[in-house]
Subunit: 745 residues, 2 copies
Amino acid sequence: QAFQLAAAYVSDAQFARNIPFQTARRCIWYYRLYTRWVTWGPMYVFLALNLALAFLETPAKPQLESPLWVTMLLESLCLVAFSSRLVHLAKFTERSVFWKDPKNICVLVTIILTVIDMVIYVALTHSGYYIVRWSRALRPLFVINFSESRQLRRSFRNIRRTLPEILGVLVLFLFSIAIFSLMAFKLFGKRHLITGEGKPYFQNYFNIFFELYVLVTTSNSPDVMMPAYNSSSWYAIFFIIYIVVNTYLFMSIFLAVVYNNYRKHLKNEVRNSVFSKRRTMAKAFGILRERLGEGWAVSQQSWMQLVGMAVPSMSQAQRLLLWQVSDEEHTGHIGKQAFVRLTDLLNIEVIETRGRQHPLQSCAPRVYSSAASQALRHVVHHRFFRYFFDGVILLNAGFIAGDEASLAIRQAEWLFLGLYVLEILLKLYTYEPQTFFSRSNFWNWFDVMIVISALLATIIVHSIQDARPTTSTQILDFLLILRVLRLLRIVESFERFRVVIHTMINIGPTMVTYAGLIMVFYYTFAILGMELFQGKIRFFPAGSADAQPFCGNPLLNGSKFYNEKYCKNNFNDLSSSFVLLVELTVVNQWHDILPGFVAVTNVGARVYFILFHMIVVILVINIFIAFILEAFILEYTLDKGETESAIEKKIQELGLGIAEEDVAGNGMVLVDNMETQDQEPRDAEASKPADSRIMFKISDRRYRTVDTLLQRMFEEELAPEYEGPYDDHEDIDVRPQQLTLDNLV
Amino acid sequence: QAFQLAAAYVSDAQFARNIPFQTARRCIWYYRLYTRWVTWGPMYVFLALNLALAFLETPAKPQLESPLWVTMLLESLCLVAFSSRLVHLAKFTERSVFWKDPKNICVLVTIILTVIDMVIYVALTHSGYYIVRWSRALRPLFVINFSESRQLRRSFRNIRRTLPEILGVLVLFLFSIAIFSLMAFKLFGKRHLITGEGKPYFQNYFNIFFELYVLVTTSNSPDVMMPAYNSSSWYAIFFIIYIVVNTYLFMSIFLAVVYNNYRKHLKNEVRNSVFSKRRTMAKAFGILRERLGEGWAVSQQSWMQLVGMAVPSMSQAQRLLLWQVSDEEHTGHIGKQAFVRLTDLLNIEVIETRGRQHPLQSCAPRVYSSAASQALRHVVHHRFFRYFFDGVILLNAGFIAGDEASLAIRQAEWLFLGLYVLEILLKLYTYEPQTFFSRSNFWNWFDVMIVISALLATIIVHSIQDARPTTSTQILDFLLILRVLRLLRIVESFERFRVVIHTMINIGPTMVTYAGLIMVFYYTFAILGMELFQGKIRFFPAGSADAQPFCGNPLLNGSKFYNEKYCKNNFNDLSSSFVLLVELTVVNQWHDILPGFVAVTNVGARVYFILFHMIVVILVINIFIAFILEAFILEYTLDKGETESAIEKKIQELGLGIAEEDVAGNGMVLVDNMETQDQEPRDAEASKPADSRIMFKISDRRYRTVDTLLQRMFEEELAPEYEGPYDDHEDIDVRPQQLTLDNLV
């Protein structure tokens, strides 16, 4: 049971989990069940389902709108799932800890509020009253508060802590607009100018304030200035100063504040997370340690057993490698510090690449080693092989741009597809397939996927073309996108582009967190918008039978909103709302969209739009930009972390490694290198240890988890042994640990 | 003569000048003349005049357009001035060094080219040919290359070095747009949709590319999507992915690249500049040093004489203070390291504040110390005094917003003005005037300036109101702006705002550099634009006699450009061009302005606009934003530099200082504190040295020069003694120094 507990601790530390659990046997069992994907996997399904309900509930697209009992049933199902997850958590957590965690309280309160809202809603709609389903806006709270979405919660904490400082700047910024508005009011108001649309210009203070706020977003940039500028050139100075101060200076200051706070708080969070990991590992160490001379240590045997339990998927050879890295002195025991470092080692993706022969080499050695075969493989290895296919791709681009109807181009498509398939087959013939498809070789995967999908799609199109023309068109569109995407592969050939692309791929997973963050805000604003504006503006597809003019609302007669055909920008269902919110995030023309909503409701609609701009554009998007800035600056400047170097050194020392420069390169180079090593195994064999057929390399995708990325950002500043202050209450995720003898070792 | 040379070196180091001069007596004389403002002051006048010529040359506003001989004469005058400056420089520089400096070559070549262009132009225009005055676009080169504008040159070097990396991303970015355009072309082209204006939608590949490029700038945000989106909701996904990848991801990457390079290169530049300063100081040390035991040192006497010559404006007391800071051990001699540090000490603004009595105290001690007077001063000191005037300002804001025509409000203006004057008089009565008006008290200056200007303007308006109504209106506008600006003072009362405002004021001088940078690009683009588009689009003020429809060009009939009344956005004179370029920098609606220019010329006009966007918006504005980011992040995180602390400590040690916290605060607090110290001089006098009537404080505006700010950014990373590698050729400003015995000490 001690090993069970220790393994639980190690796996907690590895995945940076921080769920306090009791150490009784039954509790550990519950806890391990809780962290297994069979229990948290369905949770994600329910979370997604819960959010997706908004697609089915009124207002929705007519074809999706479902009867009340369906959505109510599904929502109840979700609530039951959430409750049971909470009960499960309570099973292995100490009661006092459970009730102190704001996450749990928040989930519980949200569940109760939702139930109340559902009951009231059902009761009232049955009595014929109309009532707002307000609890729908609370749904993102479930996403935020369930432990699995740790990153998201961290971002939210980050926002919460950045708020005070940003509010200070925001007030100053609004004050600045107010001052400028006052000036504009007095300067231009008395001149009775008219705008391009023939309306009075700058006559009302609050309208001026709004116009100047819009100017900060640059949406009405020259138009708001033109009447004054046409009246006198000097007035341009007023607007130029305004733009410099508010659009450039203040917007940059917002970014600076967000970026600065982002880094500061992130640093804190990561530090706390590292400390918490170390404490967890120290607990595991406390369980397994044995007395050794004056201090404590863990023996190789316990260590191997522990890692085997904590990470069942790891092979014996890899475990041994990690042990050899940890036990630098070959004493058979490791101390606390080396033990604690295990969590970093586990987060480095080590790829085991057995020095494999090509399968054909084993099946038909004669043929595979024949002169013709060797010449063929030589051709594939040659760089002109790559250049040739780069040329083919470029040529293909020209053909894609050409007219599809022409027969020659259609036939050329077959030729190109054939060439690509040939390329992949040749590569598979030359390179060892398992190496070719190793997880880090992004471009190989990309390539094969695209070509196979294209092949399938082309065949399907040809077989059903005559039977069902509409389906065929859709598949053709899909096929077209695949074909164009294939052009992307040309990027791989340029070193300078590869850095940018690789960084993008590296930060991809973290970007998903930020996408989630934005989604949470979008969802709440979408629900809010649907309740406020649903049905007020309607869209009728061209040529539909019941089409009404003016977006179905005579109030929009003559408005810019209707004239620019914005009718589909409405809040009538979730997907339309999302698209509209994206448009509002991009900001441009929002002052043209807004008057439409003002026309069908009242001037208060501005509050919704300005609030959205302040929260999503100024705060959330800036956090997203801050993240990308930081990630790219790190990627451009960061050297490999210390831990990684240690494990690499060890691999090289043991003669199991692959040269450093190839690891940094792309898959192609790696494969080349593997091949070279394959061809001369005899020379190297003498210097290799017994298990010489197993080779390791450190994955190119260095940042496996977001935590690792974040940790690497700041790890240089953390003393390797320090476990952090024990009275640290700041981070609600970190539960202060009791001061036991173990921790003081 | 030795002192002359040493003083020249010290003053070079103080102002981070780096002009190599010969050490002969005559050369030093020429050099000192060269660095004196009587010679470089006029240079700025000629540089400004040279640029301003574009206001007078064709094309220009009709009332400014001057005959050819006037502008030619002025330009010749400027060229003579530039040449003589160059000759002056050659007088004291070694010939080989002079000809190796790209600056000098560049200036010389530009002068020659300009003369050639002028001769050809005059000759050809007299023969009746029309020819482009292309050399006008070269004029900013003078601004860049004259030594006085060091900051500007540094920014340019920065841009040049950032270019390779940004070009890599730019190509990838254009490739990405090309791929998306291809997809859009194939997806939407065959569907024969029409835009809101009834034109065909996405039918031509290059138009699609252009439209999608515009979408990156968000200018045509929902409009470019609407036809596709109205046809099917799914197409929104294409545009959303496009916006995420190109507008958000790539634009952030541009900022990241610029920001990263900005910091990297700036660091290099600053390091080089610091090293060069140290080397210059080491040279000065080499001249003045005397043998002292085993090493070399400079005696107090030589030191005092040197500083007296190098900084004639410095008082004896201040020099003594600096000596005391340098000579920490009181040995009467300082070594090389302490000597080299002098340049940092000189860059810290130390304000000498004699413990002065209020003048009234000396003139009429009885009256000033009377109970009534003391009570009055007590009232002014009280914080309610400030609150009261904050209230008055707020009330005033309400009155400003009110109707000017009403008599009550006009009379209220007099009341408010009286109150403000009273406030200033009371403060002057209470606080010592020289302290009140010390250079660092931004708000006091601001306040007094505004109130006095308002007073004068009001009096002028009243005296001439009936005589000349138009002048009176202009002064009234001016007065109004003054009144509104006064409202800004309310900001001072909030600590949170003060930090932001103070940072803005601090980075003001450096922002001027970036304004200069942008101006250089604007000027070149404006000249280019005027040559390309002059007279093609004309603006006729409302009601002018010779007004023509369609901006004077029938080609604009029915265009959006004309309908939105953009006629004044033209390139017909320098100021109009500048305003238009500002609009293009803000980016919004540039795709509506551009078709106007395409209509009157041809589709090639797009090149000019896209080039402007790439260079100014993507590169230069991002550098500006990078600077503001860095400045604010530094301001939020930076502690005081080491040198500053040393001098502060010394000041405190010597009992001459003012408590630290007051220095950080605003002028008001400082004045309060001064007052307190004034009231109890007897208690402290015992502990003060002989010259106790002189007090020092370190200026609040810590960053006197841009160099100091930049140096502080990175100074922590520089070893205090290291003078840099001597084979450092990277920075063209740094001339490798000869390896003499002095430098090796």
